[in-house]
């Protein structure tokens, strides 16, 4: 089944790039791999007939968040790629063990459930219009809240990231222009 095969291809791709994003040394590579993982997820959403979400995922995760991450990496450059610096945190082994445990804990119920046989029903409604209608009716309040949240977040981010004025540190070279000696001063210099 082509759908099935392509799902596995993309699933493996997503997992591989996500692992790369978590394991690579250079943070820029991590960010790029993460972008690839997000794009792969978008394809999987598309296969699930959620095309609107798929495009939104591309637009926001690949087009915006990845770029933000890259900018953040570049703005904080130099702190992580020196060869001497340890990549992982000191307790990485414990962390990894917990992660495996978590995966195991979630995977067990999935295996034991009957989801394996569940087959998707045939889609009948084109969802984009539906989404719009739902947003404007049932989800109007959350939508407004989300708008507010985004606005606040944007302003907040801008305020946090604004460079604090460091007047005391910056010496403006323009204000440091040497004074031109006057005739008297020069004469005095020459004739002590």
């Amino acid at each position: 089944m082509p759908n099935n095969i392509s799902f596995y291809i993309f699933a493996v791709g997503v997992l591989a790039t996500a692992t790369a994003a978590m394991r690579l040394r250079n943070p820029v590579h991590c960010a790029l791999a993460a972008a690839a993982a997000f794009a792969g997820l978008a394809v999987i959403y598309f296969q699930l007939d959620a095309e609107f979400i798929s495009f939104a995922q591309l637009l926001i995760y690949v087009g915006a968040i990845s770029i933000l991450v890259i900018f953040a990496v570049l703005l904080t450059r130099g702190s992580d790629i020196q060869p001497g610096v340890e990549l992982a945190s000191p307790h990485w082994l414990t962390g990894l063990a917990i992660a495996v445990l978590v995966a195991f804990v979630i995977a067990v119920p999935v295996c034991s459930s009957s989801f394996g046989e569940k087959i998707a029903p045939k889609m009948t409604v084109a969802p984009v219009k539906l989404i719009g209608e739902e947003l404007m009716t049932r989800y109007l309040f959350p939508l407004e809240t989300m708008g507010l949240l985004l606005t606040v977040a944007l302003i907040g981010a801008a305020v946090i990231a604004l460079r604090e004025p460091e007047e005391s540190e910056i010496r403006n070279p323009k204000s440091e222009i040497r004074k031109q000696p006057t005739t008297e001063e020069l004469v005095a210099e020459v004739q002590p």
Partner: protein
């Protein structure tokens, strides 16, 4: 973008008595501090070397720029990539042999270079060029000024990223003038036309008529040029208020030519030194008020119109007669020991030659005072606080030719 609707209005003012007046505060002459031992903010500085191969440095010129973000905090010009030892070569060769080398100084305006040099040697020897030769010199000199300014505006727009259209139009007109030069002197660029006490050959038949036609058609080109450029909002916003040069600093730093006049100092050697036969012609000196890139651009456009007026007068009144002083000697010239400094108003500023003779057939000391180099003294002062994109157009507005800067 600007809300400026109509192109700048030109307006005549009555001639003022003084050329300029020194302000009381003289603190701005000294350059920006050269503080390698600190003094610059230490965060996020980016050092960029623009050149020597860079599309906008007009040849082989380098600027070591230190950027704070996009803002220039230090700029050191580096010269010498076209240092061709003009002075040394001229000191080894005869006086006559130096003339073709002067062509290659400011290789856009060979005629005015010739002129400055032969004028200096005339001062040294006392040769007196005849009237017709003086007229021819004025005509070719002003033609040179025309296409130099046109090309400069073209290059400036190229630096602003205009894909060469203005430059193409400028070169279209330049070709017409070069045709005139070629039929007169035999070469397009390196004319080697002037001689001590005159010029090398007389005008060919019909040359005056051709020149008159070129001069008559030129204003139409200028109008088109202005329609294309002067009102363009992008040009205005890119050039106004950029690279401001104050009067005081300009004078103290020896800036000359259109750049000085854009800063508001009406110092034009054609009026001040009254050399050659310029006092006979009626022309004006346009002055800027702001001293920024836009003023330098406008001053050049306005100067072209004045040059056209000189050309019209000169072409109408050129007398017949000899073209070279009969006393003058070209080959084997051995001036008496002495020295002379001659200077003319070249299109780029004051071009001076300083020749010291010790009585031998070659100059003992041969010095070129290049306007381009000395105008660059204030480059850093003009660029500080602007961005790299501005640096490029500020440099473009200075009008340098590396052959002259490095010699």
């Amino acid at each position: 973008m600007t809300a400026l609707a109509e192109p700048p209005v030109m307006h005549e003012a009555p001639p003022s008595g003084t050329i300029w007046r020194l302000a009381e505060d003289r603190s701005s002459f000294a350059g920006p501090t050269d503080d390698r031992a600190g003094g610059l903010p230490d965060h996020d500085l980016l050092e960029v070397a623009l050149g020597p191969h860079h599309p906008s440095t007009h040849g082989v010129f380098r600027m070591d720029v230190v950027l704070d973000g996009e803002e220039v905090v230090r700029l050191k010009p580096v010269f010498g990539y076209l240092h061709r030892n003009h002075e040394k070569i001229a000191e080894k060769n005869s006086y006559l042999a130096a003339i073709p080398y002067t062509d290659r100084l400011d290789y856009i305006c060979s005629m005015t270079n010739n002129w400055a040099y032969v004028m200096t040697v005339e001062k040294l020897t006392g040769f007196q060029p005849p009237e017709r030769a003086e007229y021819i010199r004025v005509i070719v000199g002003e033609l040179t000024r025309l296409f130099n300014h046109a090309c400069l505006v073209g290059f400036l727009l190229q630096d602003m990223g205009a894909l060469g259209t203005p430059l193409m139009y400028a070169f279209r007109e330049r070709e017409k003038i070069l045709d005139l030069f070629e039929s007169l002197s035999g070469a397009r660029m390196m004319c080697n036309y002037m001689r001590f006490g005159g010029v090398r050959c007389d005008l060919p038949d019909g040359w005056i008529e051709e020149a008159k036609q070129v001069v008559a058609e030129f204003p139409r080109f200028l109008d088109e040029f202005e329609a294309l450029l002067t009102g363009n909002e992008i040009l205005l916003v890119r050039s106004q208020g950029i690279g401001v040069l104050s009067k005081e600093l300009a004078v103290n730093a020896g800036v000359t030519g259109p750049m000085l006049r854009a800063s508001g100092v009406g110092y034009d050697l054609r009026k001040v030194d009254k050399y050659s036969i310029y006092p006979r012609f009626n022309f004006r000196i346009p002055l800027g008020q702001h001293g920024d890139v836009f003023d330098r651009y406008m001053i050049r456009l306005l100067e072209m119109r004045e040059s056209l007026s000189i050309l019209k007068q000169a072409l109408d009144t050129i007398p017949a007669g000899p073209i070279v002083d009969p006393k003058a000697k070209q080959r084997g010239l051995r001036p008496k020991a002495g020295e002379a400094y001659g200077r003319i108003e070249a299109p780029k500023g004051e071009l001076g030659f300083y020749v010291v003779s010790d009585g031998s057939p070659n100059p003992y000391r041969f010095r070129i005072r290049p306007p381009s180099l000395i105008n660059l003294t204030v480059l850093e002062d003009m660029c500080l606080g602007h961005t790299i994109a501005d640096v490029v157009i500020i440099l473009g507005s200075v009008d340098i030719v590396l052959g002259e800067v490095d010699r």
